[in-house]
């Protein structure tokens, strides 16, 4: 898939993400929009997982530590054919498996997450297992920037470097916001690059909405013998103009007028891109 095709897909994914959230009347809108380009690249260019290979012991693992951005994961999994997109209409409904955080009841989900600071330790476990078994599969995990205040991340960071897990790539969806406000003001985790380097990781800081940069950073270990940290600078609410960089959209649901505006903007973008692609 070309960058243009992926970018076109990203508009469609954002559109169905917002549709699901609107339908459910709940969801983590801002953070799902900030990480969807990362997931788009992972699932369409990097990970060797598909509905057919999901139970293979050799598949790549993707463990979403920032579980609240589950809507992004769900729309990407639906797009990859793990389940019909229509199932997302049951998001947050009584007895639906499509709840507000990832669960293994949903095809394609590796681990049940939602409590923050859990994905990296689990990922260290799967990466370590791959090393012990001399297998080639890689493990990826996605963290939020606010999430880095959880101490368990740093326990796992130490262990990943200690064991030289170059088959592990962690990505920070660094959208610089969390519920209470700007991450720098709530609990400053910068300088992130220096911190992860000091913990023994190989670090790359990129534009988390740039398909070329994402692809390059995620294609292989940044350095042999070290775990990789990709700090992806992103914009919370990316792709919906009135949501971009606005904290209240962390778990905001658009009203009918806002929703209509956002959908119209998506449709205009899609039409424009279809023109370019055809």
């Amino acid at each position: 898939m070309t960058d243009e095709q992926l970018e076109y897909k990203s508009v469609k994914l954002r559109r169905s993400l917002l549709k699901s959230i609107k339908h459910a009347g709940a969801g983590h809108t801002g953070g799902s929009l900030s990480c969807i380009d990362i997931l788009n690249v992972l699932y369409n260019r990097i990970l060797n997982v598909s509905p057919e290979t999901f139970f293979s012991p050799d598949r790549d693992r993707y463990i979403q530590s920032k579980g609240h951005s589950v809507e992004a994961l769900f729309v990407v999994l639906a797009d990859r054919g793990f389940f019909p997109e229509s199932e997302l209409e049951t998001l947050c409904c009584y007895q639906s498996h499509f709840i507000g955080h990832p669960t293994r009841k949903v095809p394609g989900v590796e681990q049940n997450t939602g409590g923050l600071g859990h994905g990296l330790p689990i990922s260290v476990g799967t990466a370590l297992a791959a090393k012990l078994d001399k297998k080639e599969y890689r493990t990826f995990t996605l963290l939020g920037d606010g999430e880095l205040a959880e101490g368990s991340n740093w326990e796992a960071a130490m262990a990943a470097a200690h064991y030289g897990l170059d088959n592990l790539t962690a990505i920070i969806d660094c959208n610089s916001l969390q519920i209470a406000g700007r991450t720098r003001e709530v609990m400053n985790s910068e300088p992130l690059g220096a911190k992860w380097s000091a913990f023994g990781w190989s670090v790359s800081r990129i534009d988390g909405h740039d398909y070329g940069q994402l692809t390059e950073a995620l294609s292989g270990p940044l350095k042999r013998g070290k775990p990789s940290m990709v700090i992806a600078d992103t914009i919370k609410g990316k792709g919906v103009d009135f949501m971009e960089g606005v904290g209240k959209w962390h778990h905001g649901v658009p009203n009918d007028e806002e929703y209509g505006r956002a959908m119209a903007a998506f449709d205009t973008q899609l039409a424009k891109r279809e023109g370019v692609l055809s």
């Binding site: 012991p57 693992r61 463990i63 293994r104 590796e110 681990q111 049940n112 997450t113 939602g114 409590g115 600071g117 859990h118 990296l120 330790p121 689990i122 990922s123 260290v124 476990g125 799967t126 990466a127 370590l128 297992a129 791959a130 012990l132 078994d133 101490g151 368990s152 326990e155 796992a156 130490m158 262990a159 200690h162």
Partner: protein, 341 residues
């Protein structure tokens, strides 16, 4: 104040044990380590994951013989459990070994989410459990582990009472492919016997002694004291005490516990745990819901107070988890002529 008691048994209790022909075995921790090593020797997927706890887990020899099967994570219990969940999800048979006090508290959220909720088959091995650490104090005691782990869906909670049960529990946990918490102490234990008649099975209580006057329903390393008390009551007061060894706190053998309530005038639960949320409350609920609540009922456990200081033996004796203490409790209930329903 007195010097710390070294023995878990008074002279009278020790001689009662020898008159019953009970043999002193090893600490369950040592049996755990030997059994895991045996499993590891046959299957390179068997891993012991430790948090600077290989020494206290008696895994020194294991780490020398199978260095690639011992994963050291340093003093970081949250990471210990999270990494163990990841290893288990990738097909490893994982024993996560850490002092019970830290494992069941600091890493409780990892146990709840990464192990139980995600259904990753980790065997959590709580070492030096209960008040094994004695005078090291409350930071090192685990008197809450039954309560918190019972309250987590998809957890199995097992407290072996002797070396036989410890060995069988380790093997059963590995074979079960489900989340399990095993609780081990470090004091040498008597072998309780009845291995052929009452084989170990997770979820099934073992009847160690039958009787119809009072029933001791005990778990883990407190069971032996109930067994000695039962014999003391027989000899000194002609009372017939039943002794149930409920090694599985979860799943819980409701049927056998309720049968004890139906068949005896009094039920006394015995556990090395806080009185809240453990075996005693599980029994109380089972008995009440069964409709056979006509028996008298008493929980012998560590009370909800600042735990008395001293060795494990001192703490047990102080709170009546001893042959003498349990016999006294049984007498006080049995002599109170409450009609049986």
């Amino acid at each position: 104040m007195s010097t710390p008691a070294a023995s878990m048994y008074s002279e009278a209790a020790a001689s009662m044990a020898s008159e019953l022909g009970l043999k002193k075995g090893k600490a369950n921790l040592e049996v755990f380590a030997a059994t895991v090593e045996e499993l590891a020797s046959k299957d390179r997927n068997v891993l012991a994951v430790v948090s600077d706890s290989r020494g206290s887990g008696k895994l020194g020899p294991f780490s020398e013989r199978y260095p690639e099967q011992l994963i050291e994570l340093g003093i970081a219990e949250q990471n210990l459990v999270g990494v163990s969940a990841g290893l288990a999800s990738a097909g490893k048979t994982v024993f996560a070994v850490s002092p019970a006090c830290f494992l069941s508290a600091r890493s409780l959220e990892q146990i709840k989410n990464d192990v139980a909720y995600s259904d990753n088959p980790v065997t959590l091995v709580g070492i030096s459990a209960g008040v094994s650490y004695g005078a090291l104090g409350t930071t090192h005691h685990s008197l809450h582990d039954f309560a918190v782990l019972r309250a987590i869906n998809n957890m199995n909670v097992v407290a072996p009472a002797d070396n036989y049960e410890a060995r069988e529990a380790v093997k059963a946990a590995a074979a079960l492919k489900k989340p399990v918490f095993l609780r081990f102490g470090k004091a040498p234990l008597y072998d309780l016997g009845f291995e052929a008649e009452q084989p170990f099975r997770i979820g099934k209580a073992r009847l160690l002694r039958n009787g119809g006057d009072v029933a001791f329903v005990a778990t883990g390393e407190a069971v032996i004291h109930a067994l000695l008390a039962a014999e003391w009551l027989k000899r000194n007061h002609a009372l017939n005490a039943r002794v149930l060894d409920v090694h599985s706190i979860k799943p819980f053998d409701t049927e056998t516990v309720v049968a004890a309530a139906k068949g005896c005038r009094a039920v006394i639960t015995v556990e090395e745990h806080l009185v809240n949320g453990g075996l005693g409350e599980a029994c109380a609920a089972a008995i009440l819901e069964s409709g056979h609540a006509g028996c008298r009922f008493r929980r012998v456990a560590i009370p909800d107070e600042y735990t008395v200081t001293g060795s494990q033996a001192d703490i047990f004796r102080h709170y009546g988890i001893s042959m003498e203490g349990l016999a006294q409790t049984a007498l006080s209930l049995a002599e109170n002529n409450v009609p049986v329903s």
